[in-house]
């Protein structure tokens, strides 16, 4: 079940929009701050200029200090058209020569010696920008510093600052808008390959499990590879199933038809002796059919389990011993000597117990049924790399010419076709799934052998699994 999560597009949009908004706020604040500084800077020049002009108009006539503020000073200040103007001229003794008596400058003599002092202030509760300059009055009689203070309301500054801020904000907004649009296009672009894949999958025939052939960016390529890998596995599996079902149907249909024919014969037979023989034949056929069905089912199971990747450590010695004791029927109809040999006490391989047991049991069954005349030996051995199980009998064995053929399902080593040859093919499948090897050994001193070889679990590594170290 796919959980339908939040839209990727919406999430990305939200994150980027938030970042942009934060950025816009920061930028606008910065713009406002710089605009204020710039506006102050621009209008401070006018203010200082006007104050210097007034200071320049301070003169001494007949030993009296006087001042005649020039029109140009006021015209300079009037460039900030809507701002109110306050000013004051003091002589060296501190007496107000002209202007607003109650205007108070915050400038100190020491700060004034550095040049004009510009500061924010208040006049009659109105916020103003204020500049104070000083001028040496040269006459010896009244030697000292006269001061000129000029204050101006902040309207023009605020208007300029607002104007600059508004324009900067507009730019910031435009930039954010562009970024947002670009982001949306980018996200759509980035998600577009997914739609391509979606279309490619949708437009397929239900049976089409061939790999996807679409051109996708590197970032999406992994996804397509995974899909293709998955489809390949699916396809292989379905192929196996199809083959199995086809074969199984064929295999079961033939003995069933034969069985039905036998039963028909039985029902019309009146001779008791022949009837009895006929019944034995029906029994034989039914047993054969049951065995075949079991084998088919176990084959299906093995095919199914082969797909399971989760193997676990298996002790091959124990497994072989148990399988042998379970596989040998109580009566064989002939005396056969069964023996088990283990050259090692325990050897671990990685595998699936159930399918391994099934494979081994099938080989033993085959050997008992078609081979062993008087002797069957199961031998487990191991070297540094490998572990192997041999099933040896003293029967005729499988002719070398048929070795490859018997590995295929439904090919019996017995040309007469008494039983299905599923047993060996199951074993072949299991061994292949365990990345092992199934070999035949021609008559040696002891007889025909089927050899299963697996890779040891602790092969080539000196670090043994912990349970081996137990005493």
């Amino acid at each position: 079940m796919i959980a339908r999560g939040q839209s990727l597009f919406r999430r990305l949009s939200l994150i980027i929009a938030t970042v942009l908004l934060l950025g816009a706020i920061i930028l606008t604040t910065a713009a406002w701050y710089y605009a204020r500084v710039a506006a102050d800077d621009a209008y401070d020049r006018l203010l200082v200029g006007a104050a210097l002009q007034i200071a320049d108009a301070i003169s001494v006539q007949d030993g009296k200090i006087g001042v005649e503020p020039p029109v140009s000073a006021f015209e300079t200040l009037a460039l900030a058209r809507n701002d109110r103007i306050f000013y004051q001229v003091r002589d060296p003794s501190g007496a107000v020569l002209t202007g607003n008596d109650d205007l108070r400058s915050t400038a100190t003599p020491s700060s004034l010696s550095q040049g004009p002092v510009v500061a924010d202030g208040r006049y009659r509760q109105i916020p103003v920008r204020m500049v104070t300059v000083r001028r040496l009055v040269p006459e010896p009689a009244a030697q000292g510093w006269a001061t000129v203070t000029v204050a101006q309301t902040r309207e023009a500054r605020s208007a300029l600052a607002e104007d600059l801020t508004a324009k900067a904000s507009l730019l910031v907004l435009a930039m954010c808008g562009l970024a947002l649009i670009a982001m949306m296009i980018a996200v759509r672009q980035a998600l577009a390959p997914l739609r391509v894949i979606d279309r490619a999958l949708r437009s397929r025939e239900p049976k089409d499990l061939t790999p996807l052939d679409v051109e996708v960016p590197r970032e999406i390529f992994v996804l397509v590879t995974s899909i293709n890998h998955f489809m390949e596995r699916l396809s292989r599996r379905i192929g196996l199933m199809n083959r199995f079902i086809g074969d199984a149907a064929h295999q079961i249909r033939t003995p069933l038809t034969a069985l039905i024919a036998q039963v028909d014969l039985l029902s019309t037979e009146t001779n008791p002796t022949r009837q009895e023989r006929q019944l034995a034949r029906v029994q034989e056929r039914a047993t054969e059919l049951a065995r075949l069905t079991n084998q088919l089912l176990s084959h299906a199971m093995v095919i199914h389990r082969a797909e399971i990747d989760q193997f676990e450590p298996v002790d091959l010695v124990g497994l072989a011993r148990r399988t042998l004791s379970e596989a040998v029927p109580l009566s064989l109809g002939r005396p056969v000597e069964i023996s088990f040999e283990a050259k090692v006490e325990q050897v671990l391989i990685e595998g699936d117990v159930v399918s391994l047991r099934e494979a081994l049991a099938n080989i033993i069954h085959n050997a008992l049924k078609h081979g062993a005349r008087s002797r069957l030996t199961v031998r487990v051995s191991a070297d540094a790399e490998r572990a192997s199980v041999e099933v040896i009998d003293d029967g005729p064995g499988i002719p070398v010419a048929n070795w490859n053929r018997v590995r295929e399902p439904f090919q019996s080593g017995d040309p007469a076709g008494t039983g299905s040859g599923l047993g060996l093919s199951i074993a072949v499948d299991v061994v292949r799934a365990h990345e092992g090897e199934l070999r035949f050994r021609e008559h040696s001193g002891e007889g025909f052998a089927v050899v299963l070889t697996f890779r040891r679990l602790d092969a080539g590594s000196h670090a043994s699994p912990p349970f081996l170290q137990e005493p």
Binding site: G66, V67, E68, P69, P70, V71, A73, F74, E75, L77, A78, R81, N82, D83, R84, I85, F86, V89, L97, T98, G99, R124, I126
Partner: protein
């Protein structure tokens, strides 16, 4: 009303007692023709005769408003308005004066109410400041002459010509030149300071006036009366509107718009800050600035406009703004310099010295 009556009584008593703090105002009431619903108190430094047609036309438009017209001389009005502003509670709905520098000082002190309307938007930018003070007239400073005393060839059309005339015929015009006593007349001081700023002829003109024993008066009307009566022959820098009013009333005078440069004053109006819902005042200012108010003012009292043709019999260019000599007194912070007390003291000192210097000779 009662308070105002008491105020009037008190001011009468004050006058009787000779207290200097009380400022004289002449009060005239224009009762609402359609039944009084509200009162507008106009405090003005303008002749009632000039404002009367406007007030009556305003009442024709809005008949439920009574108008109380308080007439001052400019300096008294300024002092009263400043006092009211400092007190925070102004009894004035409207302050109207030809001494625009004083009104600008009031605006600078934060004593005026800011307001905008379609009418205020139409006012040229040089005639308003901060949307608080609005010029509503166009009044050129003119040279006026007595037609019987000044022969046509003597009529001066520039300040230079006036100087030449005084130099050429000193005896004929001795004691026959009239102008403002700028120590008393706000408008005289304003015109003189602009003259001093605009042209270098001012100093020489002042000297020439001193030598010719110029007669000075507090007010335009006094100079005009002298001119009409023939006591003087030439008047300098007189308000064109009053001069043309006298001409229309039959005075034997002629009016010349100076051709070198033409100072133009715009009489201004403001609404004191701190008035609660000054609806009547806003309407009255809107009316003054409206096309109708402008037309009525031009036809009945002020006669001049920037773009309209000059009134008949006035010697000058086709219109005031024509010919590049139109020099309006900008209503703005620049006018604060006119109010500077150190500057004023020096300027008056210089003026006195020039005038007295002539006496000393």
């Amino acid at each position: 009303m009662l308070l105002r009556l008491i105020g009037a009584v008190l001011s009468c008593c004050g006058l009787l007692a000779g207290l200097p703090a009380v400022l004289a105002a002449e009060v005239t009431r224009f009762p609402a023709p359609g039944g009084e619903q509200s009162v507008i108190a106009i405090h003005a430094a303008t002749d009632l005769a000039a404002m009367k047609p406007l007030i009556q036309d305003f009442q024709a438009l809005i008949p439920t408003v009574s108008i109380e017209y308080n007439e001052y001389v400019t300096n008294d009005l300024f002092a009263a308005a400043q006092k009211a502003c400092a007190a925070g509670e102004s009894p004035m709905d409207i302050v109207l004066s030809s001494s625009v520098d004083q009104l600008v000082a009031l605006v600078n002190q934060g004593c005026a109410l800011s307001f905008r309307s379609p009418q205020t938007a139409q006012t040229p930018s040089w005639a308003k400041w901060r949307d608080e003070i609005f010029g509503f007239t166009i009044e050129p400073a003119v040279i006026v002459f007595n037609r019987t005393l000044v022969p046509p060839e003597d009529i001066p059309r520039t300040r230079g010509e006036l100087l030449d005339l005084l130099r050429a015929k000193p005896d004929r015009y001795d004691g026959k030149i009239g102008s403002y006593d700028i120590t008393e007349s706000g408008i005289g001081y304003l015109f003189a300071s602009y003259d001093a700023r605009t042209s270098s002829t001012y100093g020489r003109l002042l000297e020439a006036f001193g030598r010719a024993h110029a007669v000075v008066h507090c007010c335009t009307s006094d100079v005009l009366a002298d001119l009409a009566a023939g006591r003087i022959a030439l008047g300098y820098n007189l308000l064109g509107s009053y001069a043309y009013g006298a001409l229309r009333a039959g005075a034997p005078i002629g009016i010349v718009i100076p051709r070198d440069y033409n100072l133009v004053l715009s009489r201004a109006v403001l609404i004191p800050a701190g008035r609660h819902r000054p609806v009547g005042a806003l309407r009255f200012v809107d009316y003054l600035l409206s096309e109708r108010g402008q037309r009525v003012g031009r036809e009945a009292s002020f006669f001049f406009g920037a773009e309209t043709p000059l009134p008949p019999e006035v010697d000058g260019p086709m219109t005031l703004s024509m010919g590049g000599t139109f020099n309006p007194i900008t209503i703005g912070p620049e006018l604060l310099v006119v109010q500077d007390r150190a500057r004023r003291a020096r300027f008056l000192e210089e003026w006195r010295r020039s005038m007295r210097g002539a006496d000393g000779q």
